[in-house]
């Protein structure tokens, strides 16, 4: 058997190299997010947001931008025979799950690197809440990456992939989004960040991440079977 970390590194490097070369996912995700912020800015007719409204605008936008990347996560594996190549290799298939989830996490972090400063520029009076927001973004991204990878691998063989991913994914990430917005609300409060129940929400996010990472690791092998 090839060591799992070798397979993980090979698949992750292949995915990141392909994305850097083709830019198939990230620009679309970023463009979607920025356009949505512009629409919110003019739709709400407000130059400043705080609390739950700011949290809602931020997470709704990031979630739907993430769906674009999740939809495409396994397309190369499906269309270019990557699934067969990986099933023929002497590797633990969970390495594919871990590599894909890590690639998606990297896309989400890159997306946020571009879009969160734009969000702050459009809507926030102060940048004080951005530092604690980083912890929320990281934990929510891990959950989105684990769940998104799992759902994407199931949906990729369907012709209705673009419909199936949001239909199955969105209900599954409702707890994640409740925790993410719950943690973000006080952090982006008017008058500076507060930390009411901040730790509790972070723990909920961490628990969600753990559960879906373990579920993905446990079932992924069966998802690749004929």
């Amino acid at each position: 058997m090839t060591p799992s970390r070798t397979a993980f590194a090979a698949i992750l490097a292949k995915d990141l190299r392909t994305e850097l070369r083709t830019l198939q996912s990230l620009p679309a995700m970023a463009l979607f997010a920025v356009t949505t912020f512009v629409i919110f800015r003019f739709g709400l007719d407000r130059t400043s947001l705080s609390g739950s409204l700011a949290a809602g605008v931020l997470w709704a936008t990031l979630l739907f931008a993430a769906v674009l990347g999740i939809n495409r996560l396994f397309v190369a594996e499906r269309e270019e025979g990557g699934f067969d190549a990986i099933r023929l290799a002497p590797i633990d298939r969970s390495a594919l799950f871990a590599a894909k989830a890590t690639a998606l996490l990297a896309y989400l972090l890159a997306l946020e690197l571009v879009t969160v400063p734009i969000f702050a520029f459009f809507f926030l009076d102060s940048a004080a809440g951005l530092l604690p927001l980083l912890a929320i973004l990281l934990l929510a991204d891990i959950g989105l990456a684990a769940t998104g990878t799992l759902i994407s691998s199931m949906a990729v063989n369907s012709r209705a992939r673009d419909l199936l991913v949001p239909l199955v994914l969105l209900p599954l990430v409702v707890p994640l989004m409740i925790a993410a917005t719950g943690a973000t609300d006080p952090v982006l409060a008017a008058g500076g960040p507060a930390y009411d129940r901040f730790g509790t929400w972070l723990m909920v996010l961490g628990l969600y991440d753990l559960i879906f990472a373990l579920v993905g690791y446990a079932v992924f092998d069966f998802l690749l079977e004929d």
């Binding site: 060591p3 090979a10 270019e80 067969d84 023929l88």
Partner: protein
């Protein structure tokens, strides 16, 4: 004392092999034994189940019924032991279009746990043997179908498999390509081979056994 040596494990042993896709039976009643190092040529019209048979042997499909033992591993339960010992050349080249040929081969070498130095030497040798040295750093998407097939052959033998499963290996290859391919995936070298083909004139001379599959007919081995 005259001790009997145990008979060598056959490369493939099939008995009553069947595969259904829902209500449709794609393959039924296939039975044969292929000794190690021998070549089996599979013939039959489109839809007779040739590719299905190859995919079962490659552990990519589960049999619906019957027995399949490949390189001593019973399928599907011991499929995990078999991976890495098979070289599979299917209809798809299993190459990523946005990577170059060399990058694809490096990727597959890593998946098969080939140490880096040995992988580089092996890749260089295969690219030379397949006539792909000059185009190896171009993206696969920019190559012709014949060149992709040459790279797919390199991928198929990269990890020096014990059993080759070849589905129409000559497709898209010109005469020169077929000759080069013969050196890489032809008979010999102690490898066992299963070759699915629509070109019996070319492949029958190298067959130790022939399996004829028909639609709605019993499979015949000769």
């Amino acid at each position: 004392m005259d001790e009997k040596q145990p008979a060598a494990e056959p490369a493939i042993r099939l008995a009553g092999l069947r595969r259904d896709y829902g209500e449709r039976t794609a393959l039924d009643g296939v039975g044969l034994t292929l000794a190690a190092g021998q070549s089996l040529v599979v013939l039959g019209p489109n839809g007779a189940g040739k590719t299905t048979l190859l995919r079962i042997l490659a552990t990519l499909l589960r049999p619906s019924a019957g027995e399949a033992v490949v390189l001593g591993c019973a399928l599907p339960d011991e499929a995990w032991k078999l991976r890495g010992r098979i070289g599979y050349l299917g209809h798809e080249p299993l190459l990523y279009r946005d990577l170059s040929g060399r990058e694809n081969l490096r990727f597959h070498a890593k998946l098969h746990g080939i140490e880096r130095g040995r992988a580089e030497a092996r890749i260089a040798a295969l690219l030379a043997a397949s006539g792909m040295e000059r185009r190896a750093d171009e993206r696969v998407a920019e190559l012709s179908a014949g060149m992709r097939q040459r790279l797919a052959i390199c991928r198929c033998v990269l990890h020096e498999p014990e059993l080759l499963l070849l589905d129409e290996p000559d497709s898209n290859l010109d005469a020169g390509g077929r000759e080069l391919a013969q050196e890489l995936i032809g008979p010999g070298g102690g490898r066992s081979r299963v070759v699915v083909t629509h070109d019996p004139e070319r492949h029958l001379p190298e067959a130790d056994q022939v399996l004829r599959l028909g639609i709605g007919e019993a499979a015949a081995v000769s």
